[in-house]
Symmetry: C2
Subunit: 241 residues, 2 copies
């Protein structure tokens, strides 16, 4: 039974004839939940070697193995784009990670701003969300989710060759035109639900690598703003063109 | 205590000195949850008369009244844009309604396509979500949420002066440029998670008022696609410019 709708992220290198051991969770999903067995095929990817068709060789309750058969899609990496956001309520933070993966961010970085409530995040849980979103969206890339960092420290050590688009709710008018700023390495910064502090806003506007952009006349929630900002960037400079 | 962070949608006309009766739910929220009382101020809007500062005149457990004091923002209607989408799982349908309100859709229309699972929706619950989203996003307008309609019937009776942007996952390349199609009345159609059927896709491409647009190389979930599509439209033809 061939079912390309099942896509699994694996950690092993993928190549013709490569054997892929399954984790206990993957075996449970594939053989228990999805009722697949020996000889069935599915799609696998590891974030580096494209997508492969794989066939089940051994199926057990606690594990199993697949054989990689042939490459079905080349590796396709997103643009070199970071998404920085201030974590919010659990469900919405999960959504931001899912959406950033679908929208093609290369790295997802939770940041602490002056008005961020979160003291810590569950990096492992958010990384697992990124894997699941990549499995669902048909991509071959999984963005890295970083641990929580302080925004002011991140800006102090900012790499000089990376531009930053930030979304300023207080901005009247459309803000800067990204196309003129040019491609290359970028990051998008989404503020917390309470907005940036006055000191943060002044600092951001003064940074030579920062570009203020407006997301319209209504106030967007952080998860909505993340998708809207990624759309603006992908259309102007990314892989949507 | 002035707190502009509290915003309530009310149904009464708003004007200087106008008395506004509160529903039981609003009284519970305002006096019970938010601990406000007589003399406190908040913002109210009704979707027609802009935003007003109102003062609590009577506060009870089951009701109360406000006095409208002065207009604090003019009425601001979104562009004449409908969002058509195929309902999906409950939580994600709620999200689409919330996001469409924030992003400035004038009307939200759940539609049944060939691959839509939903037979019915809770229109009243979705409308309440739109009200809540309008309260949160600082807007003065609440989009109407329609009851579930069949897409094929809706297209058969389509108003000839309204253009339709639909998001085609199977499209290679960026699709049409919206700017060239011009402003005026529009609708956006987001397909169901399983995509459009071949018959639906062929019909959509053949419609003289329809414009196919791509949302990038990855497959987006319906709620992500709704925000991305609204961003594309608002940037090209809407009130973000």
């Amino acid at each position: 039974m061939a079912d390309t709708k099942i896509r699994l992220y694996v950690e092993q290198p993928l190549g013709e004839g490569q054997t892929i051991p399954l984790t206990r969770e993957q075996a449970h999903y594939l053989f228990g939940v999805m009722r697949r067995g020996v000889g069935d095929t599915l799609a696998v990817f590891n974030g580096r070697d494209g997508e492969w068709r794989a066939e089940v060789r051994e199926a057990g309750k606690r594990g199993g193995t697949l054989d990689a058969v042939e490459q079905t899609a080349p590796q396709c990496d997103p643009p070199d784009l970071w998404l920085l956001f201030a974590p919010i309520k659990k469900a919405r933070t999960d959504f931001i990670v899912e959406k950033a993966t679908e929208m093609g961010a290369a790295r997802i970085m939770p940041v602490q701003t002056e008005f961020t409530n979160s003291e810590r995040i569950r990096q492992d849980r958010l990384q697992a969300h990124a894997v699941e979103a990549a499995e669902q969206c048909g991509g071959t890339f999984v963005p890295d989710v970083s641990d929580l960092q302080k925004l002011d420290r991140l800006l102090a050590d900012w790499p000089e060759d990376r531009q930053l688009m930030f979304c300023d709710e207080a901005l009247a008018g459309p803000g800067e035109t990204l196309g003129q700023a040019g491609g290359g390495k970028w990051a998008i910064l989404i503020g917390p639900e309470g907005g940036f502090s006055e000191a943060e806003r002044a600092r951001l506007h003064a940074l030579p690598f920062a570009h203020a952009v407006s997301l319209g006349p209504r106030i967007l929630r952080a998860d909505t703003a993340a998708v809207a900002a990624l759309t603006v960037w992908q259309q102007a400079l990314g892989d949507w063109a």
